[in-house]
């Protein structure tokens, strides 16, 4: 028999159909695994769809072929023609499906490529964003570091500023001199407590002050302004400030103008020192110098005059023996004798003033001296209705001095007080003593309620021969001599007229003389004296 056996092709068909199924499903499995591994990758999804279609195609083909072979092997050849159209149709359908799915691969890939390109762009943008975020983070860290350093620096500088501010604030508030700040309107914008006290303002309420209010002299103020405008500062400028109560104080001021960037003065700051006490002391020193020179001159003159006066008196008394008491010559000689004696008394006073006379020193209780003086003078005072009030401190320390001379001083002061109140027909004399423990001085004050001493006269009252009394009533040597005696005792005389009451601050008419004497270094000596 010629021909070819179909058995090999039948066997290949059966085995091949099974192998088709196996490989198709294995391919589908891996396609599925790819979609699970990268679900966002469209390409894997697409390959998975192709694999599904191929698997379905394999089933349709393999199932049909295997069924056909089994039907033919089993001898049921007549069944196959019935199934064949369905198997073939299904197979054709699957073939078309696979073709359709495969054909769409191109579009799918194109779409995927576009998406992938956009995804890549997005990824790149994300990377750039991440990079930018990282750079921002680094920058932030750097900034935080800088901030941290900055904060530390700020804290440090703030602490320094605070310390500096505290230091200068303390200097401002604790200064015993006036420290002030003013604006262009000459308003004092800030002033320390010492400044306010210097101007007589006490209490918590701070007054609104202007330089015009405190400068006494308008001329000085103009000079001050001109100097500030011209030089930008004022140094050691002496002027007078007007206090709240109207009294004047001498001040030494320095000030500096503060300018803006254009050079315009925007404010000023300055310091003023109260020189009133210094000036008073200077005046007293000058007076003291003057008195000392006058005293020396007076001593010289007195010494020179004393001898001729003694000769004149001697010869006058000798000549008086030669004339009858009723004679005119005798009477003339008597006048010469009297006037010569008066002149000698003046000379003696001058010598006392210039401390040229001898002096006995002992420990004294000043209260006893005052009591002695009042005992002697009280009678005359009462005749003019002048009352003496004594307020003497107990346990007053002793002073070293000449009791007689000190009595003379107090007699002088009481007599002056008497004369000051004589015209009034009445008055009071207050005699007070106390111990100034701070300066270790004994103070004795004689105060009257008389007419007081005019301010322009006060500087001259200790000058020799200066008197406001009528001619013949005073020689003008009383206070000069007293001044000399107290100076000789190492003390000082102060005068206050009118008197300012320490408690109320009010001015009381009258004059107060204060004798200030140093405390004795050996207080035991006073007890030895009865």
């Amino acid at each position: 028999m010629t021909g070819l056996p179909l058995l090999p092709s039948i066997l290949v068909d059966m085995v091949g159909s099974i192998a088709d199924l196996v490989f198709a499903f294995l391919a589908m499995r891996y396609a599925y695994l790819l979609t699970r591994k990268q679900p966002e990758n469209f390409l894997w999804s697409y390959l998975f769809y192709i694999c599904i279609a191929i698997a379905a195609f394999s089933i349709s083909r393999a199932a049909g072929h295997l069924l056909k072979q089994f039907l033919f092997i089993s001898g049921n050849n007549d069944i196959w023609p019935i199934i064949s159209p369905y198997s073939g149709g299904f197979n054709t359908l699957m073939l078309i499906s696979v073709s359709a799915v495969t054909l769409f691969y191109h579009k799918g890939v194109e779409t995927h490529r576009v998406i992938a390109a956009k995804a890549a762009k997005l990824k790149h943008a994300n990377l750039l964003l991440k990079e930018a975020a990282r750079e921002m983070k680094d920058l932030n860290l750097h900034l935080e570091e800088i901030n941290s350093h900055l904060e530390e620096k700020v804290k440090e500088r703030t602490a320094e500023l605070s310390r500096s501010e505290e230091k200068f604030r303390h200097l401002f508030s604790a200064s015993k001199d006036m420290v002030y700040f003013c604006n262009t309107g000459q308003d004092i914008t800030d002033i320390n407590e010492s400044g306010l006290e210097m101007l007589g303002y006490y209490g918590k309420k701070r007054p609104r002050l202007n330089l015009h209010d405190i400068f006494y002299s308008e001329g000085d103020l103009q000079t001050f302004f001109k100097s500030m405008q011209r030089d930008g500062y004022v140094k050691d400028f002496e002027t007078e400030f007007k206090r709240k109560d109207g009294t004047l104080i001498n001040v030494l001021m320095s000030a500096t103008a503060i300018r803006d960037e254009k050079g315009n003065i925007v404010s000023c700051e300055g310091i003023a020192k109260d020189l009133t006490k210094v000036k008073t002391m200077m005046e007293q020193l000058a007076a003291s110098e003057k008195m000392a020179s006058v005293g020396q001159m007076a001593a010289g003159v007195a010494h020179e005059i004393n001898t001729p006066l003694g000769i004149i008196l001697g010869y006058a008394q000798l000549m008086m023996d030669d004339f009858d008491e009723d004679s005119e010559a005798y009477q003339n000689l008597l006048v010469i004798e009297r006037q010569t004696k008066a002149s000698r008394k003046i000379v003696a006073d001058l010598l006392k003033f210039s401390r040229q006379t001898g002096s006995a020193r002992e420990n004294l209780n000043i209260n006893e001296v005052l009591t002695d003086v009042v005992a002697v003078t009280e009678h005359n005072l009462q005749l003019d209705h002048i009352q003496v009030h004594m307020d003497l401190a107990d346990n007053l320390p002793a002073v070293v001095g000449d009791a007689e001379k000190l009595r003379q001083v107090f007699v002088n002061l009481i007599n002056n007080a008497h004369h000051a109140m004589e015209k009034q027909g009445k008055g009071d004399i207050f005699i007070t003593s106390w111990f100034d423990s701070a300066n270790k001085q004994i103070v004795a004050e004689v105060r009257d309620t008389g007419h007081g001493i005019p301010a322009d006269v006060q500087a001259r009252i200790f000058d020799p021969f200066f008197t406001t009394k009528p001619v013949g009533k005073g020689t003008g040597l009383g206070l000069s001599v007293s001044y000399g005696i107290i100076q000789d005792h190492g003390g000082n005389i102060e005068v206050e007229s009118p008197v300012v009451d320490k408690k109320s601050g009010k001015k009381i008419p009258g004059t107060a003389f204060r004798i200030i004497l140093p405390e004795a270094k050996d207080p035991e000596a006073i007890q030895e004296k009865p």
Binding site: G3, L33, S99
Partner: protein, 164 residues
Amino acid sequence: MNKSLQQSWQIAKAVILVLMSMLIVPDAAWALQSHGPPEGIYVHQMAHAFFVGSLVFLFLDLRRSATKSRGWIYLKKFCLLMIVWNVVAFTGHAVATLLAPRHIAGAESFFHARLLGPMDPTKLIFYITRFDHLLLVPSLFFLFVGLRTLYLNVEREVSQGGGQ
């Protein structure tokens, strides 16, 4: 409902009514086209041609766009083998139509069936094309190997932290 929608709905109702009346009263003028015996094989052959076209398109696209990694090379081989298989199958189906049942003897036993001689080119081509699985199985094998390779590459990339 506005006026235009109401008009559309009226037209739709008229069309549905006409179609339903056609079903109730069939007529020869409305008969569907009949599909005789040769149509099945023609459709099947056209499906093969369509599949070839799709595979050629896929192959060209893979060659143009896909990377040179081993997985994609396997997939291209799958395409080529599958194209060849389609050609073989198409040829087999075409040649089969030329053979008459008398050219195959298999009455005594299916395993002993034979292509009867004398042999001519038609019969030889028919005989050879019956071994089409020798192309189809390798083709599907390359599909499987290609996808497996792609999967293993992806898995390696993921495990190495490369991501997609």
